[in-house]
Symmetry: C2
Amino acid sequence: MIDQPYHHGKLREVLLDRAAEFIEEAGVEGLSLRQLARDAGVSHAAPGKHFRDKQALLDALALRGFLAMNARITEAARASGDHRARFVEIARAYVNFAVTRPVLLAVMYSTKHHPDASAELRSIGEDGMKITRALITEAQDAGVVAPGERETLAQVCFVSLHGAAVLASGNFLDGTSTDALVQATTDLLWAGMAAGLPGTEGASAS
Amino acid sequence: MIDQPYHHGKLREVLLDRAAEFIEEAGVEGLSLRQLARDAGVSHAAPGKHFRDKQALLDALALRGFLAMNARITEAARASGDHRARFVEIARAYVNFAVTRPVLLAVMYSTKHHPDASAELRSIGEDGMKITRALITEAQDAGVVAPGERETLAQVCFVSLHGAAVLASGNFLDGTSTDALVQATTDLLWAGMAAGLPGTEGASAS
DNA sequence: GCTGTGATGTAGCCATTGACAACTATGGTG
DNA sequence: CACCATAGTTGTCAATGGCTACATCACAGC
C-alpha cells in the first residue's frame, strides 16, 4: 500500500485536469465534485477547500480555457502570409479549439459564472477580439481593407467566428466540414471588409 | 379547499410553461422536476408520466422554442421592403428572440438532447437557415447579390447571426447595443454578398 | 528547537434531487 | 359492465452539494 501523504500537494491542478477530461467525455451536467474527489483519491469534502462551489471549479476551468485559447489565437496571428491569410489562421485556430473542446467552450461562454470570476473572464475573453482588431487595423493601414470603424468590424468578425465555432463544436453543421465553413465565413467577411476599395470587384471568392 | 380533480388535465403544458419561466429566472441548472411538481400542486412523480427524463422535458422545451423562433423569423421574412431590408428583419427577429429568452436559446442549441428528440430538433432548427437561403436565392435572381453557392452563403449568414444571437443573449457585448451589432453584422455580410457586382463600390456601409 | 497558526484534508450530517416501483383513481371503449 | 390505458400518488434509494466540527501538516516567528 502506497502511503498517501495527508496533503495531496497538487489537488487543485489534478481536479481541474480531471474535470476538463470528464466534461468532454460526459458533459458538464454529469460532473460531480464527489466523483472528482474519488478519482483523485481524496475525501469528498476536499475539493471544497479549493473551490467554494461547483461553479467556482467551472469558473476556474473557463479561465484555463480562455488562456489556452488565447495562446492558440496569438500564435495563429503570428503566422506568415498577408493580412487575409493571417485572418484565416486566426479563425481556424479559434474554430479548431472549439471543435476540440466543445464542452469547455460552452463552459467558457456560460452565463452562470460567479460575479467575481465573471469580470476576469469577461476581460480575458476579449483578447481574441483585440487581436482581431489589431489585424484589421493593420490591414486598413495597408489599404487592403476599407476604412471604417475598426472596433465594430472586429466585433462583427469575432461574433461571426464565434457562431461558426459554436455550431461547429456542437455538430450543427449537417454535412459541411468545419474547414469549409471557416473558409466560406472568412471569405465572406473579408469580401465585406474589402468592399468599396478600388479594384476589388472579383475579391469575393477565393 | 378547492378539491383538485385527480387528473390535472393539462399538467404537461403547465409544467412546460412554468419550466420556461423558471429557467429564464434562475437558469437551467436550478430547474428541478420536483419543484415544478410542487408549483403545479401535484405529486413529485407526476412529471415522470409526461417526461421520462429531466432531459426529455428540456427537449420538449427546446422544441417549443424552435417553433416560436421559426414563427418570428417567418413573419420577419414576410416584411415589406427590398431584399436587404428583409434580410435585416430576419436577423433582427433572430437576435431579438435570443435576447428575450437567453436560457431557452442555450437549451435549444444544447448538445445533450436525447437522440430521438435530437433528430427532430435538428431538422426544425434548420428552418431559419432555409428561410435565409430562400431570401438569398431571390436576391441573387434579382441581381442584388453576387451569384455563388446559395447553400454556403446562407450557412455563413446563419452562423454569423447565430454568433451575434449567442453573444448578445449572454451579455458579452460590453457596451455595444444589440441593435448596433445586428446592423453592423448584416451590413458586413450583405456587403460581402454584393461584392463583385458591378457598381457596388460604395455598398459596404449603410 | 518550539510553538501556534493558517491552509489543507477528513468524517459525518442533512436537505434535495432524479429515477424507479408498486399502487390507485379516472374515463373511455367494446 | 368489465376492462384497460392514462395520469397521478406514495414510498424508497443512491447520489449529490454544501455545511460543520475535527485532524494533520507546513512553516514562520521566536
